[in-house]
């Protein structure tokens, strides 16, 4: 009974991503989209918290939103997987529910 969580806010501007990670359960997926994709970069002040809170949660990021913002996939935190729009649909279909953290 897994949940797909989406986060579309920059983790540097709001607490949304951290709150989402604090509520996600083992087996869930947290997908970063729109300005949320900034949370997927390594070497940021938040990277440790991301890795620490990630745990048994799968972290994913929407590739077109990364590309739009000039973030190279080589800069992502290890363990974060990238998905395209079809992959987003796939995630929505394979989880029992979707929670959008607005």
């Amino acid at each position: 009974m897994a949940t797909l969580h989406t986060v579309n806010k920059s983790p540097f501007a709001t607490q949304t991503l951290l709150s989402c990670l604090g509520h996600a359960k083992a087996g869930d997926t947290v997908l970063m989209i729109e300005d949320g994709v900034y949370g997927a970069a390594s070497n940021t002040g938040l990277a440790d918290a991301m890795v620490g809170m990630g745990g048994a949660v799968t972290l994913a990021v929407l590739a077109p939103d990364l590309k739009a913002r000039g973030i190279d996939e080589g800069r992502l935190l290890s363990g974060v997987k990238t998905v395209d729009y079809a992959g987003f649909v796939e995630l929505a279909a394979t989880h029992d529910r979707t929670q959008n953290w607005l």
Binding site: N8, K9, S10, F12, A13, E34, D35, Y38, A41, S42, N43, T44, G45, A47, A63, P64, D65, K67, A68, R69, G70, I71, D72, R75
Partner: protein, 136 residues
């Protein structure tokens, strides 16, 4: 300073595509440039993301306005202050930003960099030195 010329600072604190603020700010800067004021732009917090190079928006269906920052020199907007602490917190360095130059007509069109990376303390000084501050 010439009569009637005021110091205007546009403060940019939002990432480029998630909201409309960044684009709106840039448009106001371009329109406002017609008034021949002493204009500076500040980029801090998530605003520093606006200047990251290699942005490519064709897969998200919105206009990539980052090349427009390179036209600012033509509009005599040549001071883009970027806060170092904001870059650091986001894992960015000066090398991650696009190069933005302006041509100095008084020095035979010599190309000079518009971006100046400054500390938070210096940014506070820049802010306190203005007549008008517009926030985005």
């Amino acid at each position: 300073m010439e009569d009637g010329v005021k110091k205007f600072l546009y403060v940019n604190r939002k990432a480029p595509y998630g909201t409309i603020y960044a684009l709106e700010s840039l448009e106001v800067v371009l329109i406002g440039a017609a008034f021949d004021q002493d204009v500076s732009l500040a980029f801090l917090d998530d605003g520093v993301f606006q200047l990251v190079k290699s942005q490519d928006t064709k897969d998200i269906g919105v206009k990539n306005f980052s090349p427009t920052f390179r036209a600012l020199g033509d509009y005599e907007v040549t001071k883009l202050f970027v806060e170092k602490e904001s870059l650091d917190e986001r894992g960015l360095t000066a090398d991650d930003l696009q190069e933005i130059m302006w041509e100095d007509e008084d020095e035979d069109y010599a190309e000079k960099p518009s971006i100046r990376i400054i500390s938070r303390t210096e940014m506070a000084d820049v802010m306190s030195d203005q007549d008008v501050i517009l926030s985005f």
